[in-house]
C-alpha cells in the first residue's frame, strides 16, 4: 500500500532531488562533520584521530578565548542595545506621521543606507577612525581639539569602543522595517480607542505598542544574537582582533585556528560551542517571550 504510493509519487521525489542533494552535500554533511570533528585532532596532513573532549577542555585554558568571551559579552550587549532601541524609536517616529505618503517616503529614505555594500561601509568607518587622514581626527583638528585626537583602533583601551560605535546612529534597516511593519499591523480600533481615552504617546508606546510587538522584538533579538556571535568580518577588517587581545572574539579565533594554524579539530570545537550558545539562546528567547498572539 505505502510502497504503491511511493512508486506513484516517484515524480515528486525526483523533482525534489536537486534541493535535497544540495542540502545534503553542503549543509547536512558539513554540519555533522563539524560536530564529529570537534572531538578529534584534525590537521592539514593525515587523518583525524578521536580525542574525546580534549578540544573542549583545551578551550578553558586558551587566553584568546578567555579574552574573546569577555569581549563578546560586551559586544553582544551593545549589539542588542543598538538593534532594539534606535530602530524602534525611528519606527515609532515614522508611525507618528499622519500622512500615509510621508510615512512611505520616510521608510524608503531610512532603507537607503542599505544600498551601500556592507564592506564599503565597514571600510568607510575604518577611514573615519584613521589616525592621520580620518574624519574624526581631521574634524577634531579643525575644531582645535587636538587633545581629543586618538588612535581609535590602535589604542587597546579605545578599540572596542570604536568597533561598537561603528554604524552610528545605528538605525539598522532590517530591525526598523520589522518594527514598523509590526506597528502598522496593530488594529486601528485599538489605537483609536487609546486616542479617544486621551492616552499620551508615551503611555501608548509602553502599554499598547510594546506588548503588541513582542513577536517583532523576539525576532530582532534572535537575529541579533546570531549576527553578534558569528559576524566576525567587521572585526577582522577593523583590527584583526588586536591590539593584543583587545578586540578578539571567539568566532575570529576559530577562523584563525583554521587559517593560520590548521587546527581544524579545535576550530570545529569552537564552532560547535558557538552553535550551542546560539541555539540555547534562541530557544530561551522563544520560551521567555511567549506572546498571546502566538497560536
Amino acid at each position: 500500500m505505502i510502497l504503491k504510493k511511493i512508486v506513484r509519487a516517484n515524480g515528486s521525489y525526483l523533482l525534489l532531488a536537486p534541493s535535497f542533494v544540495l542540502v545534503g552535500v553542503f549543509l547536512y554533511y558539513p554540519a555533522f562533520s563539524g560536530i564529529y570533528h570537534a572531538f578529534t585532532r584534525w590537521q592539514a596532513v593525515g587523518a583525524s584521530t578521536w580525542v574525546g573532549i580534549d578540544n573542549f577542555v583545551a578551550m578553558f585554558s586558551d587566553p584568546f578565548l578567555r579574552h574573546g568571551l569577555s569581549n563578546q559579552l560586551v559586544l553582544s550587549f551593545a549589539d542588542f542595545a543598538k538593534a532594539l532601541i534606535p530602530p524602534f524609536l525611528v519606527a515609532e517616529m515614522i508611525y507618528m506621521l499622519s500622512r500615509e505618503r510621508e510615512r512611505y517616503w520616510m521608510r524608503t529614505l531610512f532603507v537607503i543606507p542599505m544600498v551601500a555594500p556592507m564592506m564599503v561601509i565597514v571600510l568607510m568607518w575604518y577611514f573615519i577612525y584613521d589616525p592621520n587622514m580620518g574624519l574624526l581626527n581631521q574634524t577634531l583638528a579643525g575644531l582645535s581639539l587636538d587633545q581629543w585626537r586618538l588612535a581609535w583602533l590602535g589604542d587597546p583601551d579605545v578599540a572596542m569602543g570604536s568597533i561598537i560605535s561603528m554604524g552610528f546612529p545605528w538605525i539598522s534597516a532590517l530591525a526598523f522595517l520589522i518594527f514598523l511593519a509590526g506597528l502598522n499591523n496593530i488594529p486601528p480600533d485599538i489605537i483609536d480607542a487609546a486616542r479617544i481615552d486621551g492616552t499620551s504617546v508615551l503611555k501608548r508606546i509602553l502599554h499598547i505598542d510594546i506588548p503588541m510587538l513582542v513577536p517583532q522584538f523576539r525576532l530582532v533579538i534572535i537575529l541579533t544574537l546570531i549576527g553578534s556571535i558569528q559576524d566576525f568580518g567587521r572585526i577582522l577588517v577593523m583590527t584583526g582582533g588586536g591590539p593584543g587581545y583587545a578586540t578578539y572574539v571567539p568566532a575570529l579565533w576559530m577562523y584563525e585556528q583554521t587559517f593560520m594554524l590548521s587546527h581544524f579539530g579545535y576550530a570545529c570545537a569552537i564552532g560547535v560551542t558557538l552553535f550551542a550558545v546560539i541555539l540555547t539562546g534562541s530557544l530561551l528567547v522563544l520560551r521567555l517571550m511567549k506572546s498571546d498572539l502566538d497560536h
Binding site: K5, P18, M119, I229
Partner: protein
C-alpha cells in the same frame, strides 16, 4: 497630535537620516578629491572635480565587480528555480513523508553559518573546487533556497486548485503547468527571494575570502578590502572604487525596493 510635536518629530527624523547617510556622503565627496585636498580641507567641495579618479578606479575593480555579479546572478537564478520547483511540489503534490521531508529542509534555517564554516571549507577544499566559482555558488544555492521554498509553498497553497485542474483538463503537462502558470503568477514572490539573496551574496565577505585566493577570481567585497588595506595611498581613488562597487546594489535595491522591504518584513517573521 499637535502640529508642533509633529514638526519636532520630522526634524528629528531628518537629522537622524543625515547622520545615517554621513559615510555615504563622505564617500562621494572624497572620491572627487586628491590626497592633498583631503588633508588640507577635509569637508570642502573640491576646486576641480577629479573625475579621473573614477576612470582609474574602474579599471582596478571592474574584474571583481564582474565576478560578484556573475556569482550573484547565477546563484539567484538557481535559487529562484529551486524555490519555485520544490515549493510547488510541497504545496501541490501529496506523497508519503512529505511533512518530514519539508521539516528536514526548513529546520536547516536554524543552523547558523558558524557551525558550517570550518567543515564546509575543508569539504570544499577536498572536492577540489576552491578557486572556482562553484565554491561560492553551491553553498549559496543550498542555503538560499530554504526561505524561498518556505515562502513559495505558502504562496502556492493559496492559489485555488481549479486553476491547476482546468489547465490539466486542457491537456497541459506537469511541466507546462509549472512553467506557464506557476512561474508567471509567482513573479512577485520570486523577485523578493532573488533580491534578498542578491543583497546577501553581493555583501558576503568571509566565505569568499576563505575559498578564493586567486586574484582574478576575487569578489568585490574581498578585492576592495585588499585594495584599501594593501595599496592605500590614493584615498580619492579608493573612494571612487567604493562608489563604483556600490552601483550594482544601488541599482538592484532601488529598482526592487518594494520587494526588498517585503522580503524583510514577511520573510523574517515567517522563518
Amino acid at each position: 497630535m499637535k502640529t508642533k510635536q509633529l514638526l519636532l518629530v520630522r526634524l528629528g527624523l531628518y537629522f537622524l537620516l543625515v547622520l545615517s547617510l554621513l559615510p555615504v556622503i563622505m564617500m562621494v565627496l572624497l572620491s572627487l578629491k586628491n590626497n592633498v585636498e583631503i588633508i588640507t580641507d577635509f569637508w570642502a567641495w573640491p576646486e576641480t572635480i577629479r573625475w579621473d579618479n573614477y576612470a582609474a578606479a574602474f579599471s582596478s575593480v571592474k574584474g571583481s565587480i564582474f565576478n560578484s555579479l556573475f556569482v550573484a546572478l547565477v546563484s539567484c537564478a538557481g535559487i529562484v528555480f529551486l524555490s519555485s520547483l520544490s515549493g510547488f511540489v510541497f504545496a501541490r503534490h501529496s506523497f508519503p513523508g512529505k511533512e518530514l521531508l519539508f521539516a528536514l529542509l526548513i529546520g536547516l534555517i536554524m543552523i547558523p553559518q558558524i557551525l558550517l564554516l570550518v567543515p564546509l571549507f575543508i569539504e570544499v577544499k577536498r572536492m577540489g573546487i576552491t578557486n572556482t566559482y562553484w565554491a561560492l555558488i553551491f553553498p549559496y544555492l543550498a542555503g538560499g533556497q530554504l526561505v524561498g521554498i518556505l515562502l513559495c509553498r505558502g504562496f502556492f497553497s493559496t492559489i485555488p486548485k481549479e486553476l491547476f485542474e482546468s489547465a490539466r483538463i486542457d491537456g497541459a503537462s506537469e511541466f507546462q503547468v509549472y512553467s506557464r502558470i506557476v512561474l508567471p503568477i509567482s513573479m512577485p514572490i520570486l523577485t523578493t527571494v532573488a533580491i534578498i539573496n542578491f543583497h546577501g551574496i553581493y555583501n558576503d565577505f568571509v566565505w569568499p575570502l576563505m575559498v578564493l585566493q586567486r586574484q582574478e577570481l576575487k569578489t568585490f567585497a574581498v578585492a576592495i578590502f585588499d585594495l584599501s588595506t594593501v595599496y592605500r595611498s590614493e584615498y580619492g581613488l579608493t573612494f571612487a572604487a567604493y562608489a563604483i562597487g556600490s552601483l550594482p546594489l544601488v541599482i538592484v535595491l532601488l529598482a526592487g525596493m518594494k520587494y526588498f522591504v517585503r522580503g524583510i518584513t514577511e520573510g523574517g517573521l515567517k522563518a
